[in-house]
């Protein structure tokens, strides 16, 4: 199995990956609190970006309301923890289930009724907004006033309850992101991955080859939703407060698609590279501005917007494909945007 996993992957890529992974493992030992927070954010976006990428990059369905799954994951586990004392790892199962059902409903409604492209994107936005306003009135989880997790002291790390210092969250996220990376790699090379790409390229032609496109699109939505909800679990336990206005807001949805788009939609490394690039540069900008004495809320977002604009106009496939070419990592002429 290991052999098949590594089949076709160039030695240089493997060495590069191992180096990066090793660096990430020892990073908390050298990083100060601020840098650690940044790394956590990067990993968060890398993970969520990977999950979104499955739906869009692999199966070609543009979701602009992915914050729904983050929010549902967060609220489900938070509610179970606060109201019933159920730990997040068990709560995660419930969170994934809720997200999967939600995704299934959205997917079913969209695909059964032939809603695609722009309309699908708008449908996802509408659902997210619906939940945002709905949760504002959902008193059991705090409504618009917010939902708060009890913050204990962080003298010890409680992995079971996800209570602890940032380093603990960092390692959990690192494990999640690595796991997602491997999962995406497996999926991309699998039969389902091929079918997804066929659907993404030309759904009608895919159907003519016997692919039940409805079923596979549903798989993409449901897997993507489930994966995304897990990042919501972490969100809840890391920040310890949840506000519908923030967590379901469309800017959240846009935020989590920036990394994969800038990195490269449909590629394996894209979301990760995008996350590092985007967050890294944004923080660098932040630091630079602080040093110069500017304080403009919204400047970071303007920067993101400009980055996005630049990538969309100049590097439509994202940063990774041309970077891959420059590093001469292509095994042969084929460049199906696989890794």
């Amino acid at each position: 199995m290991m052999g098949r996993l590594l089949d076709g992957v160039s030695k240089r890529v493997l060495i590069g990956l191992f180096t990066v992974f090793a660096a990430l493992i020892i990073a908390p030992l050298f990083a100060n609190d601020y840098l650690l927070t940044i790394l956590i954010l990067i990993l968060y976006f890398a993970y969520t970006g990977q999950a979104w990428n499955i739906m869009m990059g692999f199966a070609g369905q543009l979701s602009l309301g992915h914050a729904i799954y983050v929010g549902l994951g967060a609220y489900t586990t938070a509610a179970l923890y606060v109201h019933f004392g159920i730990g997040p790892w068990i709560g995660m199962a419930a969170a994934v289930a809720v997200a999967v059902v939600c995704g299934a409903i959205i997917g079913f409604l969209a695909f059964r009724f032939g809603v695609g492209g722009v309309y699908f994107a708008i449908l996802t936005i509408a659902f997210a907004e619906f939940f945002r306003i709905g949760f504002d009135h959902f008193k059991w989880v705090g409504g618009s006033a917010g939902f708060f997790l009890p913050v204990a002291n962080y003298a010890s790390n409680d992995l079971w309850n996800l209570r602890g210092n940032p380093a603990m969250f960092y390692y959990v996220l690192l494990a999640m992101t690595s796991g997602a990376f491997i999962l995406c790699h497996i999926l991309l090379r699998s039969r389902m991955g091929y079918f997804w790409q066929a659907i993404r390229e030309d759904e009608q032609a895919a159907r003519a080859l016997g692919i039940d496109t409805f079923r596979y699109k549903m798989y993409a939505v449901v897997i993507s939703a489930g994966m995304t909800s897990i990042s919501g679990v972490l969100f809840a336990f890391y920040y310890n407060n949840l506000f519908p206005e923030q967590i379901f807001h469309i800017s959240r949805s846009i935020e989590l698609i920036l990394a994969p788009i800038i990195g490269g939609v449909g590629t394996l490394f894209g979301p990760i590279i995008g996350a590092f690039l985007l967050t890294g540069l944004a923080e660098a900008l932040h630091e630079a501005m602080n040093a110069l004495g500017f304080d403009a809320p919204g400047a970071k977002q303007v920067f993101y917007g400009i980055c996005l604009l630049f990538v969309v106009m100049v590097l439509p496939d994202g940063v990774w494909p041309p970077l891959k070419k420059a590093l001469r990592l292509n095994p042969h002429e084929s460049d199906r945007g696989k890794s």
Binding site: Q197, R207, L209, S334
Partner: protein, 242 residues
Amino acid sequence: MTTLLTVDRVAKNFTGLRAIENVSFSLDAGEIFAVIGPNGAGKTTLFNMIAGVFAPDAGTIAYCGQRIDGLRPDQVCRRGIGRTFQIVRPFPALTVEDNVMVGALLRRSDMAAARRRAHEILSQIDLLDKRGLRASALTLPDRKRLEVARALATDPKLLLLDEVMAGLRPTETDRMVEILRQLNQSTGVTILLIEHVMRAVMALAQRVLVLHHGAVIAEGAPGEIVRDPAVIQSYLGVEAAG
């Protein structure tokens, strides 16, 4: 000789336009059957009904004894009918090999087996040396062959080819004819083709159906129908009869 496909009195209207009217024919396994006729005669409509793109308004279509009219395109394919599109639709970002693999994966879940099958078909169709190229980088004749290869990878018993010779030069047409003939002889795949290129029809088809304004005006061996006066008048022109 088993009957593979039976089209029985099918009709199709498109808001006010009678596209197909009372068309019936049947195919035996292993045959090569051509459907010809002027543009707008309803050939692609007929194809689309067999392939499941839409259902006939009247009549039935039976494949291996079972009704298939009204099934979805992917269901029709799974039953064993492969098709190509008049305007080729490769998966542009995927390689030639991956394109064909998508087809091969229909009946195989093992990736290695699918890849082997893809290579097998690619060498039959003479595209093996280009398997690493992106489909978007291929020339039109190569794309046409890719389209056929991909459909073949689904192991169809019946292959529907929609104007697969269109846009090909005579040498390329001959090559494609040879490939199709080989496939028919070695694998026994039944071929139903829509064609305008009479050179290919005469070389390949064992029987020909002629459509005009959605109705059958002649059916028979190629030699017969080129001399059929109705066919000459509506489509071929006097020169074709030679």
